[in-house]
């Protein structure tokens, strides 16, 4: 009987080898020409893992020039693709996600024990052997900040035209339109055409879309939370600034509608498990402005209640809203000068900022907490659609 000896295929050690001349094709196919949709259904952040496996092989062969060259070309490639798609939320998310993942890989497999606490024994075998890439990690971290800023800019650009009409002008509570102050007119925030108004659902729909894209692209959950905190701050600032400049918006009914809208946004955050992001806290000035519009504004006790409540609004902002406050009808009185003076006297010891309006372009500093992956490099295989057949699995 003939015995056939089957040779066991050599184990894949999670490294990818390529010829130096193929570096340009690697960057083109994996970075500059890659469409995120090509990789739908594959492991999130696949380009980052492939790049790490290439770096690892160059490290394994002790080829510092190859490591330098690949990392520099990768970083320049990412910058090029971001410049070209500077208004594309999905593309920007895709590269934020991949840049962060590459940064996490360079930490997780650095050999630094502080980053190895969650590694399996197999993952520890996949650490870099020859080179310390700490300085490149700093470059990738700086690049991640740039990409994050681009992402926020794109998202704000999409949201901003909706904010004033959705938050202040749209009437979703039935029966409120009958109690609008006289002279109330719908205005458009940025469009010349007055018909371009949005309802709150438009904002929520846009937020859903942002959230789905970020989750699909495998963006770190901590970064997603920071994106929403930043966007909610902007909604708060743009809405409050408009309120502070528009007499027709300072009424009891707008306060009512505003509080309702904010509660819908809070509910959306809870529904998407984003309530621990600090997003609601950034809305506090607007929440208090809505309450201020609804509170009674007559007696000494009313003044005290307002002063106790409005801690996130400056004296200047409180006084401005009271001055602009427009009674609903002939039965409601205007806020008296003496009432406003009482408020000013009670708040005189506060050390408030001087400016009336909020800086709606303010950015919170972003943090990218280390997020190791449970994937092992030898479990990752390269789909044919990437056209990287020149990479050899080692």
């Amino acid at each position: 009987r003939q015995v056939t000896v089957q040779r066991k295929e050599k184990d894949f050690q999670g490294m990818l080898e390529y010829h130096k001349d193929d570096e340009a094709a690697l960057i083109r196919n994996l970075v500059t020409d890659l469409k995120p949709q090509t990789l739908s259904g594959t492991v999130p952040c696949l380009p980052a893992y492939i790049l790490y496996m290439c770096i690892r092989h160059a490290d394994y062969t002790n080829d510092d020039l190859k490591v330098h060259s690949l990392l520099t070309s990768t970083i320049n490639g990412i910058k090029k693709v971001l410049k070209k798609h500077n208004d594309d939320f999905e593309m920007t998310t895709f590269w934020l996600s991949n840049t962060c993942r590459l940064l996490h890989c360079l930490k997780q497999y650095s050999g630094d024990e502080g980053f190895m606490t969650q590694n399996t024994a197999k993952q520890n075998e996949h650490c870099l052997k020859n080179f310390d890439l700490t300085e490149y990690r700093q470059v990738l971290s700086d690049l991640s900040i740039q990409i994050y800023q681009q992402l926020i800019k794109i998202a704000e650009g999409l949201l901003q035209p909706m904010i004033v009409s959705a938050m202040l002008e749209n009437e979703s509570i039935q029966g409120l339109s009958g109690v609008k102050p006289t002279g109330y007119r719908k205005r458009s925030s940025s469009m010349i055409d007055g018909d371009n108004s949005y309802c709150l659902e438009a904002i929520i729909h846009q937020m859903n879309s942002f959230h789905t894209v970020m989750c699909d692209q495998g963006l770190d959950p901590e970064i997603i939370l920071q994106v929403f905190k930043q966007l909610f701050y902007m909604i708060n600032a743009v809405t409050l600034n408009n309120l502070l400049l528009r007499k027709d918006a300072c009424s009891w009914s707008t306060g009512m509608q505003l509080r309702y809208n904010i509660s819908q946004l809070e509910e959306w955050l809870r529904g998407r498990n984003l309530h621990q992001s600090g997003a609601v806290q950034t809305m506090e000035p607007l929440i208090q402005a809505a309450q201020l519009l609804q509170l009674k504004k007559k007696t000494h006790e009313d003044a005290e209640a307002i002063c106790c409540l409005c801690t996130a609004l400056s004296t200047q902002q409180i006084v401005k809203i009271l001055n602009l406050y427009t009674p609903l009808n002939e039965f409601e009185e205007r806020v008296t000068v003496s009432f406003i003076r009482t408020i000013q006297a009670q708040l005189q010891d506060r050390n408030d900022p001087q400016q009336l309006l909020l800086d709606f372009k303010h950015m919170f500093p972003v943090l990218f907490p280390f997020n190791p992956s449970s994937l092992t490099m030898d479990s990752i295989h390269i789909p044919a659609c990437l056209n990287l057949e020149f990479l050899n699995e080692v």
């Binding site: 490591v67 330098h68 990392l71 320049n76």
Partner: protein, 31 residues
Amino acid sequence: GIRHPRPRVLLKAPTLAEMEEMNISEEEESP
């Protein structure tokens, strides 16, 4: 005894801005 791994060699990296400058000058050179 305990085997100590060989220390890794620090690869110096240019900053992001320096990398961009190098990239621009390379693009200018090659039409």
